[in-house]
Symmetry: C2
DNA sequence: GTTAGCACTCTTAACGCCTGAGTGCTAACT
DNA sequence: AGTTAGCACTCAGGCGTTAAGAGTGCTAAC
């Protein structure tokens, strides 16, 4: 779709104005912002055409225009200025993240918080990796005479641990034998830890099998857990501030709370920044929202993603670079933390 | 404050009716529920007295009555029936919790979820212990040549772990020496892990001090983290459903999100079930809400708490036993999991 | 002490009215 | 042919009025 230069300017102005005020923008109002030597009537004509092209919409006949999903899309793809991050935001991000240390869990938590705060939207963060991440290490630590802790570390630095209890006594030599047996799993992907693999392992345990079974079950659970998307949500309540979402906030927040469909959204993202605007979303609960998601990589492997969910009326020009910057930073920190 | 038998019945009926419908209850309406041989006029007289005693209130002159905080309080303390848990709820709780295994983190998460679901309120759960819990074990596990994982286990079964990175190489013998040094901390309370203790430890490290410092810092952080209340919040969005909270939901949800004041609330609770109704709450954000909190113990030590936050119009008779049952169950499971 | 009856209060919804913002269209202008 | 002034039209939102309904408090009688 090719637009005249003037239409582009008008569309951009409508989008930006609406993002700023949240009010439908009318022709006269636009005149003030545009400083083109035109009358409101001309603008009206142009806006009418943009409407019939499906880029602008009117809430009702006698109201100004607001951008449609397609309108935002055109703006984001073709008109939006500066892909550079705002200096103030950069500092804010750096300041928040630098205080979080290198522990992935803490780091992601902090990243989600700063994102939600900064954008006044809901933020999601995940450390998931899908099933392609591999097991880097499995450790056991005796805790009591019948309990042991199992620790699983993935190639992307995710740490999962669990206390397991066995009915029979757990001795240190037993744990050593268990360690040797499970070391066969190191290097395998999380997806490969399935019933078959575990049965093979169990078979090699001989007389230890009975005592080791709870531990082995623990390992399976941990692998499952690590592979399973762990979605963290921040700042849902920010969404309550947006008039345009009001009608369905409850549905929206409820949708976000059930992490699972959100997982889909995240998994489907390509690398780089993914932007889904309004009706482009597959989920009806999101049809009035936009989602900006970006993945980060740890050790050149996909490490997880960060993103935000807000009204379609987002300040894309500002937020997209911020999200990108934040994810890159997180990926960088985590990679460095894992360096040998 | 002593009430006539008839006033008691009327107050109880108003409370129960209002809990059920959420509408101010009028004299005629009450008549249907009460099946006493009285006219609405008599009831009106009684209600007028209950109002002047501060137990009932009117939203406006021509509306029915709703209970005041004191009214609810009187009801809970003196009038409320059955402290027995509802069989359906018991099954629901047991079913949910039994699927969660014995891992404290997972268990508490599940407990919070079921509580929020069951009650249609916001649920809080914490594994905190304050600073009196002691350190049960500190373990280190090598991860890479410059990284190690530190694991801290408390007497109440809380497990905290962290990946630490040192600029100098971390060898296995070094970790062994570190283990020996830190074993001095085992048995100490979390509160005792302060700068002074750590400096003493650092002093005993000799030439290892430089390489061990990041690890030691990690231990301190973990102890802090374990001592620090970890408040988990579920089902905030449930609160959006209550008309009577509508005016301040945003403030309320925002208040809950900042876990810290919530922490106060929780810490101040006595053992057993704590109920705070409406204006009894210290925090203005909670003046239209009620809080039901209950602590659980692990190994006869205080292990944390579970609770819910909703409108004052809660079904106390049903929820109080449920919360109590759930906390007892959680405490029981966790105690058993730690048994030697 | 209880009750019937009544006047009174107050909320809520519905209705009509008005205003202001904004539009689309037409006819004139450059 | 593109631009503009002007005008009739539409519609949301605010405001006051009205009517209905729920519920009360009070009084006088039982």
């Amino acid at each position: 779709m090719e637009l005249s230069e003037r239409k582009k300017r008008i569309l951009a102005a409508v989008v930006e104005q609406y993002i700023k005020t949240g009010e439908p923008v009318g022709s006269k109002n636009l005149l003030k912002v545009l400083d083109m030597n035109l009358s409101s009537a001309t603008i009206r004509n142009e806006m009418a055409e943009l409407s019939s092209m499906g880029l602008l919409d009117q809430p009702h006949t006698s109201a100004g225009r607001i951008p449609t999903s397609n309108g935002y899309r055109y703006y984001v793809d073709n008109l939006m200025g500066s892909q550079e991050i705002d200096e103030t935001l950069r500092k804010k991000i750096e300041h928040a993240v630098s205080g979080a240390g290198t522990d992935p869990d803490k780091l992601l938590k902090k990243a989600g918080e700063v994102l939600a705060d900064m954008t006044n939207c809901a933020a999601v963060s995940t450390m998931s990796v899908g099933e392609n991440a591999s097991i880097r290490r499995i450790e056991t630590v005796p805790v009591g005479s019948h309990t042991a802790m199992i620790i699983l570390l993935t190639s992307t630095g995710i740490l999962k641990s669990r206390i397991c209890r066995s009915d029979s006594e757990i001795s240190t030599p037993l744990l050593e034998r268990f360690y040797n047996i499970t070391s066969a799993l190191v290097g395998k992907s999380l997806g490969e830890v399935n019933i078959t693999t575990m049965q093979t392992l169990a078979a090699s345990m001989g007389s230890d099998a009975f005592s080791m079974l709870p531990l082995l079950a623990g390992v399976t659970e941990l692998a499952d857990e690590a592979a399973h998307m762990d979605v963290r949500l921040n700042g849902q309540s920010n969404l309550l501030n947006y008039r345009e979402l009001e009608a369905n906030v409850y549905e929206l927040i409820d949708f976000l709370r059930r992490g699972e469909p959100l997982g889909h959204l995240i998994t489907n993202g390509k690398s780089g920044v993914n932007i889904t605007i309004g009706k482009e979303n597959k989920f009806p609960q999101l049809e009035n929202s936009s989602v900006i998601l970006s993945r980060y990589s740890v050790n050149n492997q996909d490490g997880g993603s960060l993103g935000l969910i807000g009204p379609t009326r987002l300040d894309y020009a500002k937020l997209i670079p911020s999200v990108k910057y934040l994810t890159d930073l997180v990926g960088h920190i985590l990679t460095k933390a894992l360096e040998e």
